[in-house]
Amino acid sequence: MKGARRWARRGLILALGAIFLLSTGTRLIDAAPTFSPTRPIEWVIPAGTGGGADQQARFMAPLIAKYKLSPQPLIPVNRPAGAGAQGFLYMLERTGSPHIILITLDNLFTTPLVQVLKKPDGSRFTWRDMTPIARLLLDNFALTVRCDRGWKTVADFKKAVESAPPGTFKMSGTGSKQEDEIIMVLLEQTWKVDFTYVPFPGGGAVAAAVVGGQTDFSVNNPLEMVGHWDAGRLCPLAVFASKRIPFGKWKDIPTMKELGYPIEYQMLRGIFGPPQMPKEAVAWYQDLFRKLLDTPEMKDFIERGAFDEAFLTGPAFERWLEEKERTIRNLMIKGGLIPKS
């Protein structure tokens, strides 16, 4: 009798254990987000109105509303001061909140390297202070010249640069000590040439300077120059991606790598949350943006802007961020844009 009761008790424990395992198991499989926003979501853009990041956030926010992906609206807010510093530090103020996210560009890496950002406790700010949610897209860069300058290939262009006195060729780029200048420095070092860098406040103005003949070339993002390409004014000679862009006319544009110049650069378009964002909220946003990327409008946008769709989350995303930060720091030190430290 006693033995039987013991077996019964053991059975009960086992059964409970099984139920417990099953329940957690299904949660692991299903990953059903238990979070749902109860207030409008603030979407911080660490850049000014009209720039690439701004255009993307303002493009995505109404799309999210259209497909009812969120019960609450996402409200884009620009916090551009200090090349994005204001936006990043604002995220720290909102520690733990599930109702705020940030869209990044590469100033997430360059700004804290160029001007040391101090957190309220005096230590140095890095991207690790925020909660990585997802990588959405990678933005490409195209070596862009005016079509009527007679440079049909990178080789033509390089020859022209080499035969002119150093510094003759002017490149327009966005801001200073940011992506565009990094790429230019890489190009200078690879080709052993000298360019003159002329900073402009935004990608549109950068492309316009090339069209207007103010400068000789740029490394514009495709979205900023594709309209001029369609009109036959600007021509991309090469892209700085690891493989060719698989859309339309871009298929014919070689990568720098295949031409024998090992220069690769792509810009992060990703989403971050504030420090200590609740895990359920992170999962909810990941789900939201995954669904957003599958909408037809987003597909069109990706094709138009020649982006790499690059959805990535979790530890893999963090590893990628580590790698990216290291690369940018090395490039900037190599190019003399920041001191060795």
Partner: protein
């Protein structure tokens, strides 16, 4: 296909009932947005952008551009009534608009502002209709050296604006330039003069300073003068409108100059309506037969900046439509809309999206006609706001100003800057320091410095680049002439037989 058939097609698109309705809604919203200081056309367009998803692209651009026109009309209202510029480009409107309101002529000032705004817009739209593509080509010839030369000319038009004491004018100009260096320097990529404050890295916003200097400063003065806004007995009738219109033929050259100047500066990417309005005001004063009346309630001083501002607003859309390059921050936000609506901004838009482009142009005509009728019928209503007792009005103005100052950059520090400049504005007024040069220097200093440094980089450090490029050289010569004009005039007056002493010029 002729331009005329395109235009008629565009007008028919714009006159479709739903598009017309959208335009009216946009105008009303825009006017309200323009009235609220700090909120501004750019923010207004950004706020409404998500709503346009449900509209056709043509209706969407009509809505957003109507908001923009409404904001330009509305910006003048608070400038004239309360000395608070609702939009950056209406700062120059306060110089003479507010004195007029204080004299009980708010109705005249408002009518003059709206009418000249409308005329500026109409002429600019006609230029837009017939010359858009070639003008866009010409705009591309303007690089940093040319932009610098144009901005230098804007400064030149303002020499002698401050009135009697040149040293005070010089002091205020340098103070403005100094303030304009605060913030992020595009050329070096480093923040400067921010004293460790992240909020200061975006620079000191010109709108915040203007709200404080002009609006709050004015309130402090009024408090001291006995809690009373003059002009309570303002005559409120539609006769004001007719009376004002009768004056307009006199200002024909100011209007022509303001429109052409405004339109062209609007077309240039990277300058915008604000410098245009200042330049137009400065030139109107320079060329006036009685410049001493400016700043004291001269109707021409309202006409000049308003024509230029609205013409520039139209001009700013030109590079956006023809080249896909935004001519102003507002246009940049609209450009984001193009992607939402599934359009490809750029040079091919004119060919590929006939309904969209010509619908937009058609709606510019209709919306501005509707807009001016709308705001003119409201003139008596706006003018009667000044009848509200100051004790009730002042706190409301302070609250609206604070909201506006915060909205510019979403930061609390700006409220303190606003308050500080309010106190400064009061002190400066008491000591007879002119405020206009400070504001002009602050708004133009940043752009001018950037253009100059870009140009010098392009010229490998040699300033010869400003004189070897033909367009730039012409503007440089014109600026030098304008800089020297007061001097030439002084010598001229000295050489002439003695004349009765001119009455002392009051400070703007």
């Amino acid at each position: 296909m002729s331009v005329f058939s395109d235009l008629f097609y565009g007008l028919s698109v714009a006159a479709a009932p739903q598009n017309l309705l959208v335009a009216v809604v946009g105008l009303v919203l825009g006017t309200i947005i323009g009235v609220l200081p700090g909120l501004g056309g750019t923010n207004g367009v950004a706020l409404l952008l998500p709503l346009t998803f449900k509209l056709s692209p043509t209706a969407a651009i009509i809505l957003l551009s109507s908001v923009y026109w409404g904001a330009i009309f509305g910006g003048a209202i608070t400038s004239i009534l309360f000395n608070i510029p609702g939009e950056p480009w209406s700062v120059a409107t306060t110089f003479d608009g507010h004195p007029l309101a204080k004299q009980g002529k708010a109705g005249i000032a408002l009518t003059a502002a709206f009418t000249s705004s409308f005329i500026g817009a109409l002429v600019a739209i006609i230029l837009f209709t017939f010359f858009a593509p070639p003008l866009a080509e010409l705009a591309l010839k303007f690089g940093p050296p040319e932009n610098f030369a144009v901005l230098l000319m804007a400064f030149a038009t303002f020499t002698g604006l401050g009135g009697a004491n040149p040293w005070k004018t010089l002091f205020m100009t340098f103070l403005g330039l100094l303030l304009s260096t605060v913030g992020f320097d595009v050329v070096s990529g480093m923040p400067r003069m921010h004293f460790g404050l992240t909020s200061l890295q975006s620079g000191i916003s010109f709108v915040v300073i203007a709200i404080g200097l002009f609006g709050l400063g004015e309130i402090f003065l009024t408090v001291e003068e006995g809690l009373r806004i003059e002009g309570v007995e303002a005559r409120l009738s539609f006769r004001d409108i007719w009376e004002t219109w009768k004056m307009f033929p006199r200002y024909i050259w100011t209007i022509v100059r303001g429109t052409i100047l405004g339109f062209w500066i609007g077309v240039l990417p990277g300058t915008g309506a604000t410098p245009a309005s200042f330049m137009s005001y400065g030139l109107a004063k320079q060329f006036s037969r009685h410049p001493e009346r400016f700043g004291k309630g001269e109707v021409e001083g309202v006409v000049a900046p308003e024509t230029a501002a609205h013409a520039a607003g139209i001009g700013a859309l030109l590079p956006m439509v023809t080249l896909g390059i935004p001519g102003s921050p507002t246009a940049a936000v609209m450009l984001a809309g193009f992607f939402i609506w599934g359009l490809n901004p750029g040079p091919l838009l004119f060919k590929e999206q006939r309904e969209f482009v010509w619908g937009l142009i058609g709606s510019m005509y209709l919306a501005n006609v509707i807009g001016v009728i709308l705001v003119l019928t409201l003139v008596p209503v706006f003018a009667s706001i000044n009848r509200i007792p100051f004790g009730i009005l002042a706190p409301l103005i302070v609250i609206l100003s604070s909201i506006g100052a915060y909205a510019v950059n979403n930061q609390v520090l700006d409220l303190w800057i606003m308050l500080g400049s309010g106190v400064a504005g009061y002190v400066f007024k008491k000591l007879g320091y002119p405020l206009a040069p400070l504001v002009v220097a602050l708004v133009l200093g940043d752009m001018t410095e950037q253009a100059m440094r870009q140009a010098l980089i392009m010229g490998h450090g040699s300033p010869a680049i400003f004189f070897t490029r033909p367009i730039s050289a012409v503007f440089m010569a014109a600026s030098l002439f304008l800089f020297l004009l007061p001097l030439i005039r002084m010598v001229w007056i000295k050489l002439r037989p003695k004349q009765p002493e001119a009455e002392p010029v009051e400070v703007v």
